[in-house]
């Protein structure tokens, strides 16, 4: 009688304890993965901010030469400000579908505006030879590379998280504790997948 109770307790307790331990493990893993992609976004954030800081300098330098291209210059500044705001929203909540899409659109707009600026600059040899401009364009290219690299890292982390979130049996834990799906940071048009052309050759 007594030992049956003991055995019964044990038989009941062991699976429950094991299940509990597994759930704790799965939960911790999801949290780790979520932290990882959020941290990976910080990497993008640093580089994007660096680029947003470079662009006003670029416009300032170009201004002296491109007196007749005010519209192009203003478009760049506007696109830069829009992208800056979009990044702030995304950085506050990385992986959130809406803010990531907003950032994608804003970044595409900025890339387009920069592309037009550089196309226009083609016609101004003095600007092309300006030392400041050369330094800025080098800096911009290197920042673009770092952004692309950081974006890859972020997307990898998001993919791992999403996979863990969706696959059985972790999805049970994810569902119970509201682990929302995360959105990738993509660059929209294939022609803009490349860094904006900043070569003046």
């Amino acid at each position: 009688m007594l030992t049956t109770l003991g055995i019964l307790l044990l038989v009941l307790a062991v699976p429950v304890v094991l299940l509990l331990l597994w759930a704790i493990g799965a939960y911790n893993r999801l949290v780790t993965l979520r932290n990882r992609f959020k941290n990976a976004y910080a990497q993008i954030d640093v580089q994007l901010k660096r680029r947003y800081d470079l662009i006003p300098n670029l416009v300032e330098t170009a201004k002296g030469y491109l007196a007749h291209e005010r519209q192009t210059l203003e478009a760049v500044i506007q696109a830069r400000n829009a992208a800056y705001a979009a990044n702030q929203r995304a950085a506050a909540n990385p992986g959130d579908a809406e803010s990531m899409k907003g950032l994608t659109t804003a970044e595409a707009g900025l890339a387009g505006a920069l592309g037009r600026l550089f196309a226009v600059a083609e016609a101004y040899p003095d600007l092309k030879a300006n030392q400041n401009m050369l330094a800025l364009q080098e800096e911009l290219t290197s920042t673009e590379n770092k952004i692309a690299f950081a974006r890859q890292a972020f997307n990898d982390a998001v993919m791992t998280y999403n996979t863990a979130r969706e696959t059985f049996p972790t999805n049970l834990v994810a569902g119970a504790f509201n682990f929302a799906p995360a959105e990738l940071f993509v660059v929209e048009q294939p022609e803009q997948r490349e860094a904006p052309k900043v070569s003046f050759k």
């Binding site: 007594l2 030992t3 331990l21 990976a40 640093v46 580089q47 590379n145 890292a153 990898d156």
Partner: protein, 643 residues
């Protein structure tokens, strides 16, 4: 007592602890059985029932062991996991915040001075008190965390004192012990948690009238027994911790030679309303990891994990009158170390050939030649000169390289550039052998950095790699795989066997592996040299052949090493080149890593004797030895010219 003895001691302490824990579990089982026996057997007047005893002991042991095991497994993910558990967020290597930058600089200087890559740095942003911790199992997965108050309120010197205190925990092997303590206590905690749950079970539809009330009774017993066990555990924990704290304070002063810094930090804790208290609910289980008492002052000194503040300060500053000055927030920090007594002006670049400049006034400079017998003297015990040297070294690295170490892409390019052959023609072939399509961004970064890297002298190459490690932790797993593949390809396309370059890339991979899924296993498997003789032969042969131009020289070098090892066996013979190539060395180091610290000491000394052609190590040989020492979990500070 040197570094290796202290490592052995730390291990012994863990064993003693496990013994106490085993004892506690046995006592707990007996106590639980006694309760069960009273409840179920009491009326029959007979207190021994083997079946009941088997059930009870199995159940209790299972619960306690499982509870401990789960926690230990959770913590074995490394210092980062502990930091996250405590609410920490990583401080990014490329941060632009001045306070964070200063913290990273302080940590990096200490790491370079101790001969380890910088640990991960975490900030506890919710904590306004002044406190800090170090956690991890080895130097490879160590994390240092500081509270917001610590970051904002301390001066650079004080911050340095606190970080030096934490480094001493890292270098002394205290961290492993500390994490084990958390795990062990968790097992007993689980017992009380289960007891608490059982207490809530109200009598259900049980057939017998009596048995319905038994569960809460058992629960109560479990709570009490577990509670007593926990209490005892905390006493042990506090006793171990208090003693370690004094030692760490002493080591920190030895490191920075600046008692005022550490004392200043402790005084600020005393003067601050928030003190060193922590808000996180997990503060109790991790209290012994911290720099200063994170809980409210205990009513009983026995339970306090830290010695009283005033006593710690008096040990550093005998003039202290016990009155804490009020804390005012300091001026915004200077990120860069203030020049030490005008040192910067008189200092030649660290890699200036010794003798070219007059090295007056104890100015640190890398030693041109180190006598081989003294090679291990400073292991795990960095001194003030090492710190000063690390500061100047960092400042004098080209700006471009410093910046590159801070972002993942730059750091990856830097390490790839560092393992490129010094020979331009071979370098060209190496780069061409890589797959451009696959490796695009890495190759661009490498190409940009290969020129400045080529100009970096031997003494600064290892430190550069160590500086790059924190940023490399930010690679995604996919990028990390690609990066290691490229490293591997570069090593293989190098026609000459360059052991130093090999050691650099091994160091990088070793320190990154824990961040990319591989758990650091550092179980000592070998306490005797005999099963490792073959591996010793591989390592010493490779080292002997690197420095030697011909067979007799190689043989002589090898014999020197074997003589130091103090063993003669047929397995210890000079191997032909084909049997001690990099793949063999790699496998040998993997096995040698699992030897005890005492064996590591003998082996490293043998390595030092082998690589030194004439009883003295040149800079390059010394750096090679440092890189190998890292593979054997033995941080060697840079070798410096005696003042």
């Amino acid at each position: 007592m040197d570094f290796f003895d202290r490592q052995d001691r730390a291990r012994q302490r863990t064993r003693v602890l496990v013994f106490w824990f085993g004892l506690a579990v046995v006592l707990t089982i007996l106590a639980v059985y006694a309760v069960f026996a009273l409840i179920f057997l009491g009326e029959r007047g007979r207190f021994w029932d083997p079946n009941l005893f088997a059930g009870v002991s199995l159940g209790t042991a299972l619960v306690v062991l499982l509870g401990s095991l789960v926690k230990i497994l959770e913590l074995s993910r490394g210092g980062g996991a502990v930091a996250t558990m405590l609410g920490g967020t990583p401080v990014r290597p490329d941060t632009t915040d001045l306070y964070e930058r200063r913290l990273l600089n302080v940590v990096e200087e200490m790491a370079l001075a101790s001969g380890i890559p910088a640990p991960q740095v975490y900030l506890l942003p919710q904590e306004e008190g002044i406190n800090a911790f170090a956690a991890g199992l080895t130097t490879r997965d160590a994390a240092v965390g500081v509270t917001r108050g610590c970051l904002r309120l301390l001066t650079r010197d004080e911050l340095q004192g606190v970080v030096a205190h934490e480094f001493s925990h890292i270098l002394n092997g205290d961290m492993r012990l500390n994490l084990r303590l958390i795990g062990i206590l968790n097992g007993l905690l689980v017992l009380t948690i289960i007891g608490r749950q059982l207490l809530r079970v109200r009598g259900g539809r049980s057939r017998g009238g009596r048995e319905a009330n038994v569960l809460p009774l058992i629960g109560l017993a479990l709570v009490v027994i577990g509670g007593i066990g926990l209490l005892a555990g905390r006493l042990i924990k506090a006793a171990v911790s208090r003693q370690r704290e004094y030692l760490a304070d002493a080591a920190a002063v030895q490191f920075t030679r600046n008692p005022a810094g550490l004392a200043g930090a402790l005084k600020k804790i005393g003067g601050l309303a928030a003190g060193s208290r922590l808000n996180t609910p997990r503060a109790e289980e991790a209290s012994h990891l911290f720099f200063s008492n994170g809980l409210r002052e205990s009513w009983l000194a026995l339970f306090s994990t830290h010695p009283p503040l005033v006593e710690r300060i008096r040990a550093l500053d005998s003039q202290f009158d016990g009155r804490f000055p009020p804390v005012v927030a300091g001026a915004p920090p200077e990120a860069v170390a203030p020049p030490r007594r005008g040192l910067r002006e008189v200092l030649p670049p660290p890699w200036a050939p010794a003798g070219a400049a007059t090295l007056a006034g104890g100015t640190p400079a890398p030693a041109a030649r180190v006598p081989a017998p003294q090679a291990l003297a400073a292991a795990g015990q960095p001194q003030t000169v090492h710190l000063a040297y690390a500061q100047t070294l960092r400042e004098q690295l080209p700006e471009e390289l410093q910046v590159a170490t801070r972002d993942p892409l730059g750091a990856a390019g830097l390490v790839l550039a560092l393992v490129l052959s010094p020979d331009a023609a071979i370098r060209q072939r190496q780069v061409e052998s890589l797959d451009r399509e696959l490796a695009g961004p890495f190759l661009d970064a490498m190409g940009r950095l290969s020129a400045p890297v080529a100009a970096v002298p031997a003494a600064a190459r290892l430190p550069l790699v160590m500086m790059a490690v924190p940023a490399l932790r930010e690679l995604s797993p996919g990028q990390y795989d690609l990066f290691t593949t490229l490293l591997q390809q570069l090593m293989e396309s190098d026609e000459a066997i360059d052991l130093f370059e090999y050691a650099l890339q091994r160091l990088v991979r070793r320190h990154l592996a824990p961040h990319f899924g591989e758990r650091p296993r550092r179980v000592v498997q070998f306490y005797a040299l005999t099963p490792l003789l073959g591996d010793c032969a591989v390592l010493l042969s490779a080292l002997a052949r690197v420095g030697a131009d011909n067979e007799p020289e190689a043989r002589a070098a090898f014999e020197r090493g074997v003589a130091r090892l103090g063993v003669s066996a047929p397995a210890l013979r000079l191997l032909p080149l084909a049997e001690c190539n990099l793949a063999h060395v790699d496998a040998a180091l993997d096995r040698l890593e699992a030897a005890s610290p005492a064996i590591h000491r003998r082996l490293l000394q043998a390595c030092a004797d082998t690589v030194s052609a004439d009883g003295e190590l040149t800079v390059r040989e010394a750096e090679l030895l440092r890189a190998i020492a890292d593979a054997l979990e033995c941080p060697l500070p840079p070798f410096l010219e005696p003042a």
